[in-house]
Amino acid sequence: MKNFLKYIAAILLIINVSESFGQCKAKQIVKEGRGGLKPFFYDGYALSDISFTDKPQKIEVEFTAFAKQKYRMVFCTSDFTEVVPINIYDKSSRAKVRNNVFTNGTVQKAIWNLTPAKTTTYFITYEVPASTPNKKGCVLMLIGYSDASAAVED
């Protein structure tokens, strides 16, 4: 009985610690998502920590795409299942009017391909819904680029 109670206490402690500490590391997320980049070369990633509150919030990532370069962005999430829509704009949230160049995606499913005609800084916004306060997770935007041909290695 004593040992069983110790196990229960340990499990509860782990749950509590992981929920309060739990900002994720990129390694596993990148491992899961990198297949979606093929045949693009890995270029980098942007990791955004999410700490849910009882109010919705917006989290922004800034990304510059160079003219005529081909890009692919794969979005991955860790440690939450809430639906988080993505909107991508061609100006920051400070602008009075801006174009939304990508909709209908959520962080769990989205892949964004683009080849901008001119060098453009994009503002990716994660529309984080209200949820259990202090619940944590993260969104990782994995970035790939391509010149023309895919890399084929021996």
């Binding site: 782990i14 596993q28 070369f41 955004s48 919030q57 989290i59 009075k96 990508f102 060098t119 290695e153």
Partner: protein, 293 residues
């Protein structure tokens, strides 16, 4: 409760402890579509919570952008591998790991096989000294590099993988500030190579790429500033990069274009010959400071 199932409980506990829900977009044709007709979001938009995360390109991507614009190989431009003995502080090692990464990308994309190997070795040596040498052994990167010397695409793929291992290592070890320092060195070196090739060839496309790269220079400073408290050497790197930004933003052509543009995504300025010369001089100065230390 059957206490004889403690073993089962233990197994379940272990499984729970390591289980992390990860979900990624899949390329199965169900990806969200780019808007062919961009939707104007004219409502007053709410400001985002907190500062935006900034994403910076890899040295390999920068090198490939320059290459597509006709950046040719010129012997002697890159930082000599013999300079590696100059770098005693962790900061100078990190900066020059970035410098050598750019040099390696430049050599790979211009099919300079022996120099590519030399820069791989120098990069590995500096990485070892910084405690991150394992990234070269993950997936047999060094061996694969040498086996694929004649295949530019394969080498580019390997360098991309090395970049990924480096990013993940630094993130896992909470050394993101080192990543920012490495990138600063890589970016300055790429700009240096671009400006020097332009000086010799007068290729206007290369100038356009140089101006294009200046669009991210403020972001590099922003990222460095976000890590400033983690390493006292970052202040000096910021000063150096800011001096390039200040030189550039004080050009008449840049000021005129900025005034005419509504925002950061407007038209790019066309620098005068004199302005290009001044920018080249400033980049030269910063780069030579970086590789001497």
């Amino acid at each position: 409760m059957n206490f004889k199932n403690i073993k089962t409980i233990r197994t379940l506990f272990a499984a729970f402890a390591v289980f992390t829900i990860v979900s990624c977009g899949q390329d199965n044709g169900s990806e969200a579509q780019d808007n062919e007709q961009p939707v104007v979001d004219s409502n007053k938009t709410e400001e985002s919570t907190g500062a935006a995360t900034v994403s910076l390109p890899s040295p390999l991507q920068i090198a490939s952008i320059f290459k597509r614009s006709g950046l040719v190989y010129i012997e002697g431009l890159t930082n000599p591998v013999s300079n590696i003995t100059n770098y005693s502080s962790n900061s100078s090692k990190a900066v020059n790991l970035g410098v050598y990464s750019s040099d390696m990308a430049y050599c790979v994309l211009n099919k300079q096989n022996q120099n590519s190997i030399n820069y791989l070795k120098s990069s590995r040596e500096l990485a070892n000294q910084l405690g991150m040498g394992s990234i070269f052994e993950t997936g047999g990167i060094s061996t694969r590099f040498e086996s694929n010397l004649s295949k530019e695409d394969s080498l580019a793929s390997i360098i991309a993988e090395l970049q990924m291992q480096s990013d993940l290592f630094l993130e896992e070890n909470e050394l993101e500030h080192v990543s920012a320092i490495i990138f600063a060195g890589a970016w300055v070196e790429s700009m240096y190579i671009g400006t020097k090739v332009y000086e010799k060839t007068n290729n206007e496309k290369v100038t356009s790429r140089i101006v294009e790269q200046m669009t991210i220079s403020n972001n590099i400073v922003k990222v460095l500033k976000s890590h400033e408290t983690k390493d006292p050497s970052i202040a000096g790197i910021i000063t150096n990069l800011q001096s390039i930004n200040d030189t550039y933003s004080n050009f008449e052509s840049v000021k005129k274009t900025a005034a005419a543009n509504e925002d950061e995504n407007g038209d790019s300025p066309t620098l005068s010959k004199e302005e290009i010369k001044m920018l080249i001089t400033k980049i030269d100065e910063v780069r030579n400071k970086m590789i001497k230390e």
